[in-house]
Symmetry: C2
Subunit: 199 residues, 2 copies
């Protein structure tokens, strides 16, 4: 079985490949860089699921392969679930990880410890060339620390401490983070769907 | 009847005085500048109502006068109701009106016209020295424009266009804005409460 993953992020490709292999699904995952002619899809949906589905639809249509796409972000309780779908551009369209992270920390600077809950949320969509489509979600709950810690990961990892751990996700190894991450959970939730539709 | 309004903003004092006079309530409104020893209350509540109540409680306790306080902000649908209680510090604690407004515009830059709804919301609290307290809310619905317009008002006025109008609230006279504003509505909703408890 061959799947296209609608991303150029090789870390995601490796993670999905590992998860499919661990589940005993014999799948070759190719990524967006193999299909440079597929235009970028504007992430203008109102939810992670809508954005993941839009990307997967574009790749399924262009490649005639089953397509997987994900969209994810940080949902902060004290910000009513934002940055959410705007996580990658929270400080504006030209914002980078560091600027986005500092803005969130500034915005919740006065929020007391007992209201600093947050979650990383990921929607993963599977769209078949036939038009059949499914979407699943994965989530990891935690809280925002006050001072960034750790050099690993990316995005908001340095300020997110999962429940039950004393480290931020930026202080974990890639393998540790994969095992508990929102994206890992969403990709694993996709395994039985892939098995059902394509197995 | 004498009331203390927990603000140093003379525009708010004049507005509340006008509204009380128009309702036939004979009230003298004094403001926070007459009580410099009352410490600033940290606005760390989770809602406009909590923040308004905290400020009114502090002034009622310190002055032994009936105290009115308000808290208000811009609630953007596409930001799940944020900036909300963080409106005045959306770009960080040292942010100013212009920086805050530009950040909101940047964050919703990709949000299509049919999802740019927003509301200005104001909670107004009345707390008596006896400990009795009430809180009311006022709201005005509208949408975010893409380019700031108008020199009047303050805060997010240049990007907020009320439903049924083609102008932003920054393009209205102070009197026009008072007549429809969230704060005007909240203060007017407070009139019967003041009449009941103090009339």
């Amino acid at each position: 079985m061959k799947l296209v993953l609608a991303t150029r992020n090789q870390h995601k490709v490796a993670e999905l490949s590992r998860i499919l292999a661990a589940a005993g699904l014999d799948a070759e995952v190719v990524d967006a860089s193999a299909y440079p002619s597929v235009p970028d899809v504007a992430e203008t949906g109102a939810t992670f699921a809508e954005n993941a589905l839009s990307k997967a639809r574009a790749f399924a249509a262009a490649t005639e392969l089953p397509a997987v796409a994900d969209d994810s972000g940080l949902c902060v309780d004290a910000l009513n679930g934002m940055p959410g779908i705007l996580s990658a551009r929270w400080s504006g369209r030209n914002g980078d990880d560091q600027t986005n992270l500092e803005l969130v920390l500034d915005q919740v600077a006065d929020v007391p410890d007992d209201r600093r809950g947050a979650a990383f949320v990921c929607a993963a969509a599977l769209v078949l060339p036939s038009g059949e489509e499914r979407v699943v979600e994965g989530e990891i709950r935690g809280r925002l620390v006050r001072v960034p810690r750790g050099e690993g990961g990316f995005g908001y990892d340095p300020i997110f401490q999962p429940d039950g751990d004393t480290r931020t996700t930026a202080e974990m190894s890639a393998e540790e983070k994969d095992a508990i991450s929102h994206r890992g959970r969403a990709f694993r939730a996709l395994v039985p769907v892939i098995g059902e539709l394509l197995g």
